[in-house]
Chain length 499, copies 2
């Protein structure tokens, strides 16, 4: 029997998935296993797979099939219509960006990343500036082309690649609300915490092997499927591989036993999302996660809202004592809790606590919009960064390295990515509120090391829906409210201003 | 400027290489890193990449380009003509085997491999027999189709996939010579060794970590590029990855410190071949190794002829003593030499010494030809195996597990592969004779841990030529003699019958 156009599209997109899933394992390998001298070769391998995928998406055959399947969409089930919509979105993105622009961007970002690293090491923005300029120019072209094709503002055209359907309008509404509340909130929290400081710091050395064993035990308790996934170490923690073979990485610092574990828990949040994606849709666009903001909501929900909290620390305390052979006041739940929820005005985003974190994002969002529009000249970025950082958070970087050179995102062309982090936090706050309402005994479950109820709720309300709906639709459905910062603010106030 | 048909072919085959090199790293990952539960998914990933490669090779575009490039071959350089010839060979193989047959074979061999494992564990050939029957039937179809397309005898059509250009005619000539000389030779050697047995066995436990460190040190001395390659552990040792990122695996048994090292040296022989392939031809058919027999010649040359020999053991002795903190009569060069060159009539091919090894291959070659022709019925294989084993080597398996069930090759459909092992040994013998003539101080160099001269000769005479010539042409050119068993027999006589 002849395949329908829709069925033929499924075949084509499963081919696309084969290229991408191979590339994904190769990227994990690059970060964890590959000898350093092989990076050029690996770059060629990845570029070749990427080229195949791009050629597939822009082929006349796929566009023809999309037209014919659209014309017959009435025979499709809902999830298939969603699948078709996601296929079209991917095709539109690819077809809007000419191959020549992709390749110029690849070269420019690869150069810019090297120069960024050098500039950061020497804390000298001027080394990086001309290369950032070049990247920005190319991104403006890309944003204009994709924006025209998808009928989006230039910034939204770029952001759509990371968090499909996320628009500046929503971001602005949420960030305006955060921007209004945060300065006062941070002030209150720091004030409040002044009399609630941890009484004991953790000192000593904790072997990486012991940290790994502990992290593995906790991941197992959470249901991470070690028969279909791994935990390894790499310079920068990430979650890679493919659903069905998920590869988490982290870093273990012998002096900071909690940092490595929190990193693992963050990645486990990502991983459990991937684990929960429906197997039946695997390899199809509808079966993918719902973008970076949603991904980040899952990692933050687990790390920040669940694990940096007393019930989880009740569960963790005996494990810490057993794993490291320790005891004493610094390992008491209340002390651990205070250590893990300290709020401070600090310069480095990745080390920031959850209360001040959004300020770092708001700043980057503002700046990257102005840079793209040409309202802020690249050469003026350091001064703009430093003065606004001082204005918004009350701390001023004394060097570019701890200021505008701290993140790699702009160097690699990821304009439009930063909002996903803060939107992810907001989503996490909103999901957490509904999760607590749905499971009144959540705290007791967590304290007892029972995580299945929580993950079951997330699976039903988020994971299993994959990309079948837009992110705001998913949130509306899961929480009965439209996406807003309100729940996150309530959560932070409740947690950090408790009496 | 428009690309010529030949240049377009280069592009197409570099795409093919991208699929294959991704698959190669994924296969390494499967054996070394992948969680066990992900094997079905990985199978799908590999099948998808394989399907892409097959589709490319059988595309009308590639056939059209081959015709047009052939018509203009006079403008090409020699290596490009060779490249074209290899492209055609690959296309011919792929186009001769219909997709449906490939997929039936894939399913049949996957089933057969499982049943083989079960049969081997229970030592019961009857569990495996019907599945082997099915594989053989499909292979007969494949052999007929490929044979017709390439104008080859059915057996040669299968063997050509493993060692391009190797024909039964050559195999028969060499195996006849070996078959005549071996029984007497084995008898003489065992007789001769009776008064030259090792005086001390090696006992004790040798930590895998120490074995790995020693193996790494020796590999470094040989010039293995650890900035573009790795050494890991897996159940079955192999050399994988891709040139530019070569992944060796081995097994370390704490009770057998020499076995693991010899395994590493065997794989290092393969790896150095891959390392020596010309970078300029990377990704093109002309740039590949010259098939399995040639590959095996490189691993056997290093393991058997170079390393299981006194000069190498002079180099190795102090390293063993330092690595394991040992000394004593069992670690003396002459004792190590005797331990590593013991000749015994034994049942298991992979454990056989280099003198009796070809007997195992001759037996399999005979049998697989008769099975394919239908002259030997599958059900009669165990009896044929056992009686001929007794006849040729004087030992009779007491069970199928140590008889016809010991190798996986037939289960996975690799009929035509076995000869490569013995032809590889013969090539190694012939290359070794020429290498010694070209480097009269070879023994002194090896004893001093200087391996660069040897590898330089191999690079010039074998590695750098890749697939630019046929294997017999390469041997003729490197040794000034046509391929024959004579040099190998001289080598074995000189080494094992020395006074």
């Amino acid at each position: 029997m002849a395949l329908t156009p829709y069925q033929q599209l499924e075949q084509e997109f499963r081919r696309l998935h084969a290229f991408r899933s191979a590339a994904s394992v190769l990227r994990w390998d690059s970060a964890v296993m590959m000898p350093r001298g092989s990076s050029d070769l690996r770059g060629e391998q990845l570029a070749a797979l990427e080229t195949e995928g791009h050629a597939l998406l822009v082929s006349p055959r796929v566009s023809r099939l999309l037209e014919r399947a659209d014309a017959n969409a009435q025979i499709l089930e809902d999830w298939q219509v969603a699948n078709l919509r996601e296929m079209r979105r991917e095709r539109d993105h690819s077809i809007a960006t000419p191959r020549s622009l992709i390749s110029r961007l690849a070269k420019a970002t690869s150069r810019a990343e090297m120069k960024w690293l050098e500039a950061k090491q020497k804390s000298d923005f001027s080394i990086f500036a001309p290369h950032l300029e070049e990247v920005v120019n190319l991104l403006r072209d890309k944003a204009a082309l994709v924006g025209k094709a998808l009928n989006l503002d230039p910034y939204d055209a770029l952001a759509d690649e990371f968090s499909p359907g996320l628009r500046s309008e929503q971001i602005d509404a949420i960030f305006t609300a955060l921007g209004r509340r945060l300065p006062g909130l941070i002030h209150e929290v720091i004030d409040h915490q002044a009399k609630r400081q941890p009484t004991h710091e953790i000192t000593g050395r904790f072997a990486a092997s012991k940290q790994r064993a502990l992290a593995t035990e906790v991941m197992k308790a959470m249901g991470f499927p070690f028969d279909r996934g791994r935990l390894d170490e790499s310079e920068h923690p990430f979650t890679g591989g493919v659903p069905g073979d998920i590869r988490i990485t982290t870093r273990f610092n012998p002096a900071e036993p909690l940092t490595g574990l929190m990193g693992v828990l963050h990645e486990t949040g990502h991983a459990m999302y991937d684990v929960g994606l429906p197997e039946a849709w695997r390899g199809l666009p509808v079966g993918r996660d719902r973008g970076m903001a949603m991904q980040e909501s899952q990692s933050l929900l687990l790390e920040m809202l669940i694990c940096r909290n007393r019930p989880f620390l009740h569960y963790l305390k005996p494990l810490l004592e057993k794993s490291f052979g320790v005891s004493g006041p610094e390992w008491e739940v209340e002390n651990l809790y205070r250590l893990l929820t300290r709020v401070r005005r600090s310069l480095i985003r990745v080390d920031a606590d959850e209360v001040t974190y959004p300020v770092h994002i708001l700043l980057r969002y503002e700046l990257e919009i102005e840079i793209l529009k040409g309202e802020l000249k690249v050469k003026d970025v350091p001064e703009a960064w430093n003065s606004r950082m001082e204005d918004r958070l009350g701390v001023r970087p004394s060097s570019d390295a701890e200021g505008c050179l701290q993140d790699v995102h702009w160097a690699v062309g990821s304009f439009g990515y930063f909002p996903s982090y803060a939107i992810g936090a907001v989503i996490a706050g909103q999901l957490y509120e509904s999760l607590r309402a749905a499971r009144p005994d959540l705290d007791e479950e967590i304290a007892a090391g029972q995580f299945s109820g929580m993950f079951e709720w997330l699976r039903q309300n988020v994971h299993s829906l994959a990309a079948s709906q837009s992110m705001p639709e998913l949130i509306q459905q899961a929480t009965d409210k439209s996406l807003s910062a309100a729940a996150w603010v309530r959560y932070v106030e409740g947690k950090y201003l408790e009496e």
